[in-house]
């Protein structure tokens, strides 16, 4: 299956991944081949089967909603590339018009 360039651009946007120029052509071709490969499932008759997300046999256990000891804020924030006053600091979310 051929993946069009604009399809790949849309996937990059959705996945928030910017591909470099030289890897784009190779990836586009490889993704097309992989999609073709996984499409073979469409030939299997699954009319009698409901989609299965979880494996059977287990009772998922939810803990009681009570306060427990947890990691210190400083320890958790310690790995962040940028932080300020106990928060993660990020670049501006809304572009300002500087003109």
């Amino acid at each position: 299956m051929e993946l069009k360039d604009k399809d790949l651009e849309q996937l990059e946007r959705l996945a928030r991944v910017e591909l470099s120029g030289e890897s784009r052509a190779k990836l586009r071709e490889q993704l097309g081949t992989i999609i073709e490969f996984v499409r073979k499932l469409q030939g299997i008759d699954t009319a009698d089967y409901k989609p299965k997300a979880y494996l059977g046999g287990f009772e998922p256990e939810l803990r009681r909603d009570e306060a427990k000891e947890c990691l210190e804020t400083e320890e958790v924030l310690g790995a962040a590339p940028d932080r300020q006053n106990g928060y993660f600091r990020v670049p501006p979310v809304i572009d300002r018009d500087d003109s």
Binding site: R16, V17, F37, V38, I44, T46, F58, P81, P92
Partner: protein
């Protein structure tokens, strides 16, 4: 007398009890081997020599106190968190990251007296079948450094095969323990989904991931699994109740065991040497006291396509957390979305990007039902198929991989060919079944071949006792070992 680094866990235990050696002697001996051999093998990303020696001397002072892994050196795959120590997942995006907590398996190993010696190489975020997708360079197969050790837990498999540790942990999402175990001639076990806590395992595909051990023999495998298995309140998918005892009954043999052999094996596209080893395994079992029957396996071709849809859909969601905000790499861009896109574009390697994009594709509007929902239906069909088989059988026997180890570089630009090396291993992940790979023989080129046993969910016990039975019949370790001299000769890059 065997060298300290050749001892099984039980033998180590006796060496400690008799005063022949202390944990410090053993850790020093292994660190020395790592020093001599890992320049060629490159199985470790981080070696915690000082920490390990400190821990060993603390253990020596405390004495064993009956701890099951007292003084046993262990390597841990570098996608398993250790507090304050690097956990890179072999990715640039997590280079230098030090998690603030220990994975449950790490806590359990250390409580049991194990000494964690270092962390091993992997395909970036456990995505791959050769360990070539590591941002920090490929690991080499100790049996032939021109060959891949398999993957994604190739560093752990190679470290055990090269004799650098008696035990290593890996993780298995589609065969990432069993396939490298087969390629490196060691035992590798993936338990039932939920058997071992995933808390502190960096998530790839949460509905499929399981941590498990690599060891040189089945008894060691049973010992380590007994330590790491069991319910953990930190993992909501962890199985409640006590896990089965594995060491007791290990020697009970296969009398009366109902063993299923797949039908239609003549149509499998597998190497002649793998076929020969499989046929020999069937003959061993036919000549034993087990009851043999033939069964129709669920469609293995469908399993692999189903796997690549489900695993990558989950991966595209799980890996959204690497955004340059909370940890790891950040590219300096003046707006948030641009920062996300460039950080992820530069921080992730090619295979990871390929999988994130594929996962995004199968989950995107307009394609969701045709791919993701369809794969979940196929998953239901595969689970049903196995359930039917295990109503009448205790075990299924099949090869772990279609061929022995391939050469480094051979499949790296052909994703489908690479994916197909997992054709026999993905079904156990999709259906959540326990499965083990054990070395059964060598190929015409002298590379190990692995056979795989699968059992019903929850039945690790039968898996291990059958593996132990076959291990004795194969006599693999007595007949074959890598050329350790070649690893110590400083021979690099196959030159």
């Amino acid at each position: 007398m065997k060298d300290l680094t050749e001892l099984s866990i039980a033998e180590l235990d006796r060496a400690y009890a008799s005063g022949r050696a202390s944990p410090v002697d053993v850790v020093e001996a292994y660190l020395d081997l790592i020093d001599r051999r890992d320049e060629v093998v490159r199985s470790f990303l981080h070696i915690f020599g000082d920490r390990a020696l400190e821990r060993a001397s603390a253990l020596a002072a405390e004495g064993s106190n009956g701890r099951p892994l007292y003084g046993v050196p262990v390597a841990v795959k570098d996608n398993i968190c250790m507090r304050g120590l690097p956990t890179s997942c072999a990715s640039r995006i997590l280079e230098g990251y030090r998690p603030p907590y220990d994975a449950t398996v790490v806590e359990r190993l250390e409580e049991a007296g194990a000494v964690i010696i270092g962390k091993t190489n992997l395909d970036e975020f456990a995505m791959g079948s050769s360990t070539e997708n590591s941002a920090f360079g490929a690991t080499r197969n100790p049996w032939n450094p021109d060959c891949a050790p398999g993957g994604s837990s190739g560093g752990s498999a190679a470290a055990v095969a090269a004799g650098l540790v008696p035990v290593a942990l890996g993780s298995d999402t589609g065969g990432s323990i069993r396939q490298p175990a087969a390629f490196c001639g060691v035992a590798g076990l993936k338990g039932t989904y939920g058997r071992v806590s995933r808390y502190g395992l960096v998530a790839f595909a949460s509905s499929l991931d399981q941590i498990g051990p690599f060891t040189r023999n089945i008894e060691d495998c049973a010992r380590v699994m007994e330590v790491i298995a069991g319910h953990d309140p930190h993992d909501a998918t962890s199985i409640t109740g006590s896990p089965p005892p594995l060491i007791a009954g290990l020697e009970s043999g296969v009398r009366g065991l109902k063993v299923a052999i797949p039908k239609g094996t003549e149509k499998w596209e597998i190497g002649e040497d793998v076929r020969k080893s499989f046929d020999e395994t069937v003959d061993i079992l036919k000549g034993s006291e087990a009851d043999i029957s033939e069964v129709d396996l669920p469609d293995v071709d469908a399993s692999i396509a189903c796997y690549y849809i489900l695993a990558n859909a989950e991966a595209s969601s799980n890996l959204a957390r690497y955004d340059g905000v909370k940890y790891g790499l950040r590219k300096d861009v003046k707006n948030l979305v641009g920062m996300y896109e460039q950080t992820r574009g530069e921080g992730f390697g090619e295979e990871v990007k390929r999988r994130i994009l594929l996962g995004t594709y199968v989950l995107s509007s307009g394609y969701y039902d045709a791919y993701y929902t369809k794969a979940q239906q196929v998953k239901a069909l595969i689970c049903d198929g196995f359930e039917a088989i295990f109503k009448g059988s205790d075990l299924i026997v099949l090869p772990t991989t279609p061929t022995a180890a391939f050469r480094i570089g051979e499949k790296i630009d052909d994703p489908i060919a690479m994916y197909l090396s997992d054709i026999f291993t993905t079904p156990a992940n999709i259906a959540g079944l326990p499965a083990i790979s054990i070395p059964s023989g060598v190929s015409d080129d002298g590379l190990p071949i692995g056979m795989q046993l699968m059992a019903a969910a929850g039945n690790e016990q039968v898996l291990l006792l059958a593996a132990r039975f076959l291990e004795k019949r194969y006599g693999f370790c007595e007949k074959h070992q890598p050329d350790f001299g070649r690893l110590e000769g400083g021979e690099r890059d196959g030159k």
